[in-house]
Amino acid sequence: MSHPLPKACPEWADVLTTLHPDDLSPARRAELEAHLATCPSCSAVRADYERLERAIQQMPTSRPLPAFPAHLLAAGSAPPSKRSATNGSLASDSLRLIPQKGTLMTPQRRRRGVAAALAIAAVVALFAFLFRGFTLSHTASGPLKTPTPRSEITPTAQATFSSTPLPSQWVAMTTALENQPALPMLAPSNPNIIYEAAADPADSGKVTVLRRSDDGGQTWHNLSLPAGKLPPVDVASIAVSPLNPAVVVLSLSTFSGNHPDVCKPALAQSGGGSPLIALSGSPPCTQQYLSTNSGKGWSLLHLPGNGAVGAPQLNQVVLPNSSDLFRAQGQRLYAMLGTAVISGNAISSSGGRIVSSDDGGKTWQYADAALTASGQNICDYRPTLTGSTLFAITQTGSFCYDFLTSTSHLWRSDDGGASWRQVSQFPALASNLAVVSQGASVPLLYALPANPYNNGSSAGKGLPLFVSSDGGKTWNNASIQGIPDDATQEQGPLATFSDGSVIAEWRRSNGTDILLSLSPGASSWRLVADHLTIGAGNVLVTTHQGADTLWVIGQSSYQGPYTVSEFGQNK
């Protein structure tokens, strides 16, 4: 070693390497901290270990397997518990993405075979997609009854929009912050205004930076943090009012399993069974702060009951980030509060609760009392833009997204949530509602079949979206034309354009994601964004002087600490 390294005191050398919170007793930790306060050399070594742990975590990850070969699971293999010792290995071999031709292939050969087959598949898929793109442009401009397309795909090596080229590379607009516990949030009414937060990367991470940009991410102002002791953060969300960019809710959530000191009351309060965890909503596991002055000052958010804005559904406890955590109807704001408690192996969750505010977010009341009284789990909801109509997707079963036992229903309220009636049962389990209000006519509704893997027979594309043009009374399958053959469904409907087109996300076999949109009455999906190298996670459409802008806010992983690596716009 030719250069001097700071050296630890020999008696502390091992302790300094102990970074995991469970690996040191509180007493030992206190001793260590006392020593670090007086020993610059050990402090420097400890700082190295912490920095290097972050470096390991920040190492970029390549693309994993594109998707689970669900058809293989469904096609042949017996349930594992029923397999005999002799057929077990056959069944597991049948799960392979690439069937093995011979039984004596060496590992190297098999792997080379897999690589070659994947390469061939990728080339074939590329040609298939390009050809499809060519077909698409004709379809879109053909005599079909479609709204005038804002764009169409031209058959170039890289599919492009006619109006503006699709970004082949999404440019990160916010890269300076690391360890973001929540996605940056754009104000839907003014996307130049962006809020974002950074947290201490340690497990007991606290929010350390909160900041706002008023110019689309070019310059930033640090905001004051909410006063008092902030809880550790496992997940956080930032919700910006679509009516007023100065109104923001910051939700900080922790999990009792990780931080029993914080969530003890939640653990103690649920009797019967022993809850492992309170996902959200049981204070003080979640603390939520409201600012009505662009983040200059914060107060605790007052809600009518337990629940966290930003965790409406179980899967959104993992991803409590969406540009529409608040949804507006006229001057009224709606939000969904999520609560979920896991007790033993059972998840007790009432889905979410719909709340509304008529004073810009200061006070909230339930808008779903009649609905929850009927024993339904509310899994998603959507207000029309004007008027007082609300739609909600509910599921029976033990929780939302109980893919295997639930049925899904559509409910409707025409008086802002005071009374509700059931409109229909979905043909299969459904979630993720989109409502396209077009003037006074009957709104167009879209919903996502809840699990693309659900019926085992789905091709990679997933199940077609459900669409209803009679206000939710009957449901049909939306088109699957225009979806590349190698694409697997990721999520959607994510947002809608102002012409009523719905946007959803697929993952290609090359590991990149695409966004497609389907116009009302159109027979085929159109490409609106491609080359997304991470899951889009969250998209936002803003409209200015009649022109829509699509914003993509992505993250590299749905597990914290979140690192935003793509964040851009496509006009």
Binding site: D23, E53, Q58, L65, L73, S81, I277, S280, I342, G344
Partner: protein, 211 residues
């Protein structure tokens, strides 16, 4: 009734892991759709772990698939579904170790057991024109660790397991894990800081040598 966990520590399940318990139970009963959901939820982090452990995305993809195939076929053996996450990591770790062992024998791998001297011949893989960035240094420094040290370090630094969890997972004594981890961190630090220190000089020397 809560699940009996015997003398195992109650594993601190992050919220979403806990939400997966239902699927673990169903998959254990042979439900393929539930297993597909588990795959969807876990495969990214298993892949991420394996990629760091073996140093190659291609191999990691293959091992990820092998891990899930093995998990599917041996799920009935899993006693406590709350242990699913560490159990899955154990399978992945075994796959990585088997791979590295085999790779050392047949010299077919992006990196092998680095029992070589400090000269770090793997540096030769780096394009001299290319900046040796943080992730490259992490990759090279990891490559200098033994397979055992590397997996222990990654199980903690990347996957977030405590020493006790790693010990249970790998069937090792907790003290052994503790000292393996300590050595791994020390060695990793030395290697990383040396790379950090040497990189500019190395680049300069190579550029000079080309002329």
């Amino acid at each position: 009734m809560p699940q009996t966990v015997g003398d195992l520590p109650s594993y601190p399940l992050p919220g979403a892991d806990a939400a997966m318990l239902v699927y673990v139970e169903r998959a254990r009963g042979g439900d393929g759709a539930a297993f597909a959901t588990l795959f969807e939820y876990y495969h990214l982090r298993i892949f991420r772990y394996l990629e760091r452990a073996v140093g190659s995305p291609e191999v990691a993809r293959d091992l990820t698939q092998d891990t899930f195939i093995a998990a599917w076929s041996s799920l009935p053996d899993l006693q406590d579904e709350r242990r699913f996450t560490p159990w899955l990591y154990r399978i992945a770790t075994n796959k990585a170790r088997m791979h590295l062992r085999r790779a050392r024998l047949i010299r077919w791998l992006p990196w092998g057991e680095a029992d070589h001297a400090r000269a770090a011949p793997s540096l030769a893989l780096v394009d001299p024109q290319e900046q040796v960035g943080q992730s490259e240094r992490v990759r090279l420094a990891l490559a200098e660790l033994s397979a055992n040290a590397r997996t222990c370090l990654l199980l903690q630094a990347d996957a977030g397991f405590s020493q006790r969890e790693i010990a249970l997972m790998l069937g090792m004594n907790e003290k052994t894990v503790s000292s393996a981890l300590s050595r791994a961190r020390q060695r990793f630090r030395e290697a990383y800081l040396r790379l950090e220190h040497d990189a500019p000089a190395l680049k300069k020397a190579r550029r000079g040598g080309e002329r």
